[in-house]
């Protein structure tokens, strides 16, 4: 896979999906029953910041759902983001891949045409929201995978290898809600239904035991396997 990857590794991973959410330290924790039921009904508003986090995220309630998914996946990462120095943040690259794109936000804009809803009709809005919250100013990319998911891991590998970023966060988020479904002709033409969001943090190795070697793989599959493999610790709040 290349000797040059040795200095870099996946330092943290997170995953959110129907089965629950968590990171590579906590493993996947099931949603509290009311939240799980709301999600089954397609009520994605149930995924509120306060469900998972104590810290503040201003404007979260006004953000489009895809951006919320992306932000929550990054927040779930146990990667010490809160304590990063500004100089480090300046060099963090952000790469988002999304198979659903922002179709849900597009429909929202058609239904409620406003400046604030228009601003989220780009898949790269997720990149913007992540960078605004975490003050990341490194290289950027937003892709819609064509044949296979996982292009973002390649992008990050390249940035790090070429010295264009000091660390990277890769996010894969998808929202196929009722608005999205209304736009698709058949399941075969569009990615399979559902929703999920995951993130990995890639940076310089420190030798810690939690580090995972970079693998050529689909980001969602990789993140899921890194998060699900941990011992399932019961949610202390449940």
């Amino acid at each position: 896979m290349g000797e040059w990857m040795n200095p870099f590794a996946i330092l943290a991973a997170s995953f959110m999906g129907r089965e629950g959410c968590g990171n590579d330290r906590t493993s996947l924790r099931p949603w509290p029953a009311p939240v799980a039921e709301a999600l089954e009904r397609g009520e994605f508003e149930a995924l509120h910041w306060r469900t998972l986090f104590r810290s503040e995220a201003s404007r979260f309630g006004r953000m489009d759902l895809l951006s919320r998914l992306g932000l929550m996946a990054v927040e779930l990462l146990d990667a010490g983001l809160e304590t990063m120095e500004p100089a480090q943040r300046e060099a963090v690259g952000v790469c988002v891949e999304t198979r659903s794109g922002c179709t849900a936000a597009d429909v929202q804009f058609l239904q409620t045409p406003l400046a604030s809803t228009f601003a989220s009709t780009l898949p790269s809005t997720v990149v913007g929201e992540i960078c605004i919250r975490h003050r990341f100013r490194g290289p950027v990319m937003c892709l819609l995978p064509v044949f296979e998911p996982g292009g973002s891991l390649e992008i990050a590998r390249g940035w790090l290898q070429r010295g264009e970023a000091g660390a990277c966060v890769c996010v894969a988020c998808d929202l196929m809600d009722k608005k999205f479904a209304a736009c698709t002709l058949s399941p075969h033409d569009a990615p399979s239904g559902g929703w999920q969001s995951c993130a990995v943090w890639i940076g310089r190795r420190t030798g810690a035991s939690r580090e995972h070697p970079w693998r050529r793989n689909s980001l969602p599959r990789l993140a899921h396997s890194l998060v699900a493999r941990g011992v399932n610790v019961p949610n202390p709040g449940a």
Partner: protein, 84 residues
């Protein structure tokens, strides 16, 4: 008949898509932008569109509008004075 205050507060909520906010949550003297209600510059644009559509007020200069939008009270005064 609905007072201007009731009408305007409801229109703000509708125009800005503030679905978790009730008219009573819009305090007269708290800031609308930044803190207080926490609106941002995109909301300012939507507010301007609503004033134009529902009250016939044409705002050309966003900087001047900023002063009128300082709080709900200044906004209501502005609407009273300029509506057609």
């Amino acid at each position: 008949m609905q007072s201007l205050t009731d009408e305007l507060k409801n229109k703000i909520i509708k125009a800005l898509n503030l679905d978790k906010i009730a008219p009573a949550d819009i305090k007269d003297d708290e800031p609308l932008f930044g803190t207080g209600l926490g609106l941002d510059s995109l909301d300012a644009l939507d507010l301007v569109s609503m004033l134009e559509r529902d009250y016939g007020i044409l705002i050309q200069d966003m900087e001047a509008a900023r002063q009128a939008f300082a709080s709900y009270r200044t906004l209501e005064d502005f609407v009273q004075r300029n509506r057609r």
